[in-house]
């Protein structure tokens, strides 16, 4: 039985090519979405990006959400490489905890973002290809509550990303093991 909170360790040297690709694509998308999210709120009313940036943020956000779901499916379906024998127990536990927290926070960010954008019962158009319908819109001041959560959980996620990257670099540079290479 494998689940999100309990890793299914598989004897493989690296993450699968699909997993690696999805990891880096969604990672970059999340960093980009965070940067755009902070930046677009500072734009003045007359900025050419004032209208466009939030639209892109939503469209790319939906695409990212779909890719993240695929990532989770692959993680559950195919498992993850066994920890290296050189990994200490606390390293395995800490890394695992941060992974789980990141997934949870990403999920909360996706949900809260969706709830902001659809609070007035209008769906999210994604590049004119499809529309994500509005389902929940009866929460009082939904856009404010969801907005508060979306912002602060995003800052929290970025803090965890910093830890995640620091961990990966520690293994690569200080421990000189193949932890990071498994994702390359």
């Amino acid at each position: 039985m494998t689940s999100l909170t309990q890793n299914q360790y598989v004897a493989m040297d690296k993450y699968l090519p699909t997993q690696r690709t999805l990891h880096w694509i969604t990672g970059l998308l999340i960093l980009g979405l965070f940067a755009v999210g902070v930046w677009m709120r500072s734009l003045s009313y007359y900025d050419p990006w004032y209208q466009t940036a939030p639209i892109w943020h939503k469209e790319i956000g939906i695409i990212t959400a779909i890719l993240i779901m695929l990532r989770v499916i692959w993680r559950i379906k195919s498992g993850v490489p066994k920890p290296l024998s050189s990994h200490k127990k606390w390293e395995i536990h800490l890394a695992h905890l941060i992974h789980i927290l990141m997934y949870l926070m990403i999920f909360v960010i996706i949900l809260s973002g969706y709830l902001i954008a659809t609070a007035d019962n209008r769906g999210i158009d994604v590049f004119g290809i499809f529309e994500v319908p509005a389902v929940i819109n009866a929460i009082e001041n939904q856009e404010d509550i969801a907005g508060f959560i979306h912002e602060w959980v995003a800052y929290g996620l970025i803090a965890l990303v910093v830890l995640h990257v620091a961990g990966a670099l520690k293994h690569h540079v200080i421990d000189k093991d193949s932890t990071l290479k498994r994702m390359l």
Binding site: S44, Y45, Y46, P54, I116, A117, T118, A119, D120, N141, Q142, E143, D144, G147
Partner: protein
């Protein structure tokens, strides 16, 4: 004789005080929502953007014989701003505009009513918005009054005033055509 004059004086003063209290008290019908507080602001100078506040309450007194004795007070929950676009409403509630967490209510209290005849009046009063109190004049008109079909008595007014956003400490730049906003009140009072 003394008794009679005393009675007269008493009767007269009673009549006088009755005149002073002849102003009728009304409560704004927010239960049945026959009242609307709307705003109107130019979008880039190309069109009108309209919105409203959904949550408010208020009372008014009305003196038919001497309208200058009339008064009105309204209290608005700023977080109830509704422009039919959730993300815009979120922006309006935030620090660029209404700062509703810091200034949850806006109020208007009349200080002087100047009748212009034919049911029209200038209602001068203090508008408190975004933590700033300023005197504004509402150009008001009585729409109608009379018995309602359910045993009550109602009286309705419409009033409007235009304010400059920066007078109330709202300095977000919406462009030169959008520096003022018109507040439009349509209110129906039910006589107490």
């Amino acid at each position: 004789m003394k008794l009679l004059s005393n009675t007269l004086v008493a009767g007269l003063s009673l009549a006088l005080s009755a005149a002073a209290f002849s102003a009728e008290k009304y409560v704004i019908d927010t239960k049945g929502m026959h009242a609307f507080i709307e705003f109107k602001i130019s979008h880039l100078g190309y069109s009108w953007l309209k919105g409203r506040f959904n949550d408010f309450s208020g009372e008014l007194t009305y003196d038919e014989k001497s309208p200058e004795n009339s008064s009105v007070s309204v209290s608005i929950k700023t977080a109830s701003v509704d422009s039919n676009h959730a993300e815009r409403d979120k922006h309006l509630r935030g620090s660029d505009f209404l700062e509703v967490s810091k200034y949850p209510t806006a109020t208007f209290k009349s200080t002087k009513v100047v009748s212009k005849g034919k049911g029209k009046a200038d209602i001068v009063g203090d508008l408190t918005l975004h933590g700033v109190t300023k005197s504004v004049t509402i150009d008001a008109v009585e729409i109608g009054a009379g018995n309602d079909p359910w045993g009550g008595f109602r009286r309705g007014f419409m009033g409007s005033t235009t304010i400059a956003l920066k007078d109330f400490g709202i300095n977000y730049n919406l462009g030169p055509a959008s520096e003022t906003v018109e507040l439009i009140l349509n209110i129906e009072g039910i006589r107490k």
